[in-house]
Amino acid sequence: MLVDLQGPWSPIFGRLGLLLDVHYNNPVIFFAFQLVVVGGAIALFWLTCANRWGWLWREWLTTVDHKKIGVMYVLVGLVMLFRGFFDALMIRTQQAIAVGPDSPGVLGAAHGYLPPYHFDQVFTAHGMIMILLAVTPMLVGLMNIVVPIQIGARDMAYPYLNALGLWLTAVAAALVMIALFVGDFSHAGWVGLTPLTELPYSPGVGVDYYIWSIQIGSIGTTLGAVNLIATIIKMRAPGMTWGRLPIFSWTTLASNIIALTSFPVLGVALALLTFDRYIGTHFFTADLGGNLMMYTNLFWIWGHPEVYFVVLPAFGFLSEIIPVFSEKPIFGYVTMVLASMAIGLVSWTVWLHHFFTMGASPGVNSYFSIATMLVGIPTGVKVFNWAFTMYRGRLRFPTPMLWAMGSLFLLITGGTTGMMLSVPAINYLVHNSVFVIAHFHNMFLLIAYATFGAVTFWWPKVFGFKLDEKLGKLFFWFFTAGTLFVFIPMYTLGFMGMTRRLDYVSHTSWQPLLLLELFGIALYSLSVVFFLAQLAVSIRDREKNRVTGPDAWGTSRSLEWATHCPPPFYNFAVTPVVHDRDEWAWRREHGLISLVPDRYLDVHMPKNTAVPLLIGALSLFFGFAMIWRIWWLAGVSLLAIIVVIIIRSFDKDTDYIIPAADIERMEAEILNRGAADETSDAPIGGGAGGALASPRKRDGD
């Protein structure tokens, strides 16, 4: 039944014998290994010295609190963003060095310092990590943090499932990190080009790492999508009608409908590839009735909706940030909602534009070309709405607004080049050139800009203090300069005919532009330093930067600003009643900003549980065992997962009630702390004033 493998295999250790042939002499990997070991050692040392293990277990690892889960999602995303950035740095350096036949080569490479096989793994890892393990977790994390508070809920619809989604995503990230040191990673591009990913052409474990980490991570994302949709449908506070739902919640809904329906198709594509690689079926082989373009179709039937899955939350961030710093309600709320839903719908009808060159008939290509152009309509509506929101507004430009502006400019340039690419005649010319690469990096950077904006914007809500503005602005401007220097030359090179994924560039005339790109990535590296400095300085000065009152920006509009910064674990002492589209703005204008209700009620909350973490750990074993074909371990872990789920289903003790008196006591504590701060510190929060609350940063938030 199973396929014959090249290389050693034993019943106990599977293919781990392959490792005996690997020589760890590459300084790049050694550097990465040191980084991970040192980082891990520092974390373990700190946890032990500060006696924080119990805290880590109680407050984070076993939590079902949507805010903490969201923070952990963002943390996973940030770590993987650094990893993906290192990969980008390596790609840019290699392409800047390995130009022309006379270029030097070191470390076993004929040119540059990365031999082709290693270079191919780097760009595959870069693409896959950035899209699935950096951007996606950061967006899901922010949705997790913001949406329940924004709609007036105490938690997600399924807190336990939420934690499970997080740990499965973390397993995907862990598998990719393990691939860096134990074995190798896929070399077949982040799209997994068939039949290159088939066993005869990729006999190692690299493609298996790729398959299983995406498969496990995408199960997590699908669970998260179920949870977020159900939360938005079922958990809204009284008065939060569909017509009053904030735009970010709307885009979250649209985006998760996309995730729910598209990720299973990716699962199918990868599962069929798995069958090809493990039992020798003929789905995507070049012979015996296989059809390799079927993989490409299935992959992009997921892949294109995925693009909108990540861009829609970014549009939601812009729709929240721009009105707050324009001091105006969003322009064209209804068209904004319709546009989000329209983008979600159209996302399903355009996948073939990723491979116009497949050679489909002119009719087919024309259909997908026109469908692609249609995307421009709802997106254009959004751009105009944001512009009209700012028109005659009282504009301020703190860091979140700067990021939003940058995002808007990138959307316009990326959108325009996207329209160019939607024309098959142009697409045939630039297919697989770096013009396409520049275009989609442009689009993903728009998402990154909006995400950085959103992180800065909601940081005081989550942690109770603001991020440093000065370093934040330096981060923004260096990052923007990096964007310009990397991607304008890249667009140019695309027009000049440079194809993607080159480990060696034969045209020496392209070198000046490639060196400009290298300069750009150096600017990016500097911006990362400013980002880390911003985090460090802001955390150091958190007492000084503390926000007083629920409204950190003074002009905030939606419901998440109608609770303390940071919100207590139950979010709202008493569930708010919503009267307006911009509930907090409405309350502020009518002087109804008190957070003290007439009386308190009992609150029903879910209990912490270690089960999701356990299932995550077992999934990690399962994934690792499947990759190395250690069948007994795979079987045992899968069985253990099923048994754990069944045992958990017999557990009746999953919730508890917090008595009203306890809520009253905790609220009074928060309010008193705010009052104490008021005497010592000047209010920084603005608008709402310090009369309300200003809780100290609690452990664990």
Binding site: A157, A230, I233, P238, V265, G280, H282, F283, N291
Partner: protein
């Protein structure tokens, strides 16, 4: 006035916090999540049926569809799974009447019929394996095995769930948790029957005739 009010609310006489404990629509919330999960499961089969459209004639010189697919062979499993779903439906009537034994008996019968379904599929596929029509032969056979056995895997996990439910109802009766699980399993079990109807139509009838 920068805020956009949908309705005119009198700010001087407004209720900012919700003091009536509405309670939480527990079963409704659980059901909607399960419907959403079923949506994603439906997409898995959508992907597989799309693949079936591509591989249906890729015999690669090996077995043709007519040689391996016999619609009559699949008729008995069809009757078994449809009857199993019908009896599960009777179990839901018993749930409405609050009859614990009625639910348990229906689930037991439904479970046995489901096992029968799997047993017949196991026989069909071991015959195929014996005659050498294994998934490694051609794209068509790969697709045939995977699409039918993916459905079988769903039935297997449905049966596992049913077994757990029988124990839970015997132990805890109609608790909130058990009721929502019974309702969700109903959705799941009906869905397997619907998918089987598609498998029977598109794979067995259209392939074997």
């Amino acid at each position: 006035m920068s805020s956009h009010s949908v309705e005119n609310v009198d700010p001087s006489n407004v209720r900012l916090w919700d003091y009536d404990d509405h309670g939480h629509d527990f079963i409704g919330t659980r059901s909607i999540g399960f419907w959403l999960y079923m949506m994603s499961d439906a997409m898995i089969f959508a992907g597989l049926f799309a693949a079936h459209g591509v591989y249906v004639h890729n015999f690669a010189g090996g077995f043709t569809a007519k040689e391996v697919i016999h619609p009559l062979n699949a008729l008995w499993p069809t009757l078994f799974i449809l009857t199993s779903v019908l009896i599960y439906g009777f179990g839901m009537v018993a749930l409405k009447k609050g009859s614990r034994s009625g639910v348990i008996n229906a689930l037991l019968l439904s479970f046995i019929l489901g096992v029968g379904f799997l047993f017949m599929e196991w026989r069909e596929f071991s015959e195929l394996a014996a005659m050498g029509a294994v998934p490694q032969v051609s794209g068509f056979l790969s697709d045939f095995w995977v699409i039918v056995l993916t459905h079988a895997a769903h039935v297997f996990f449905g049966l596992l769930w049913m077994a757990v439910m029988i124990v839970q109802i015997a132990r805890n009766g109609f608790s909130q948790n058990n009721v929502y699980r019974l309702l969700n399993l109903k959705i799941f079990w009906h869905f397997q029957a619907v998918i089987w109807v598609c498998v029977f139509t598109f794979v067995y009838l259209m392939g074997g005739i």
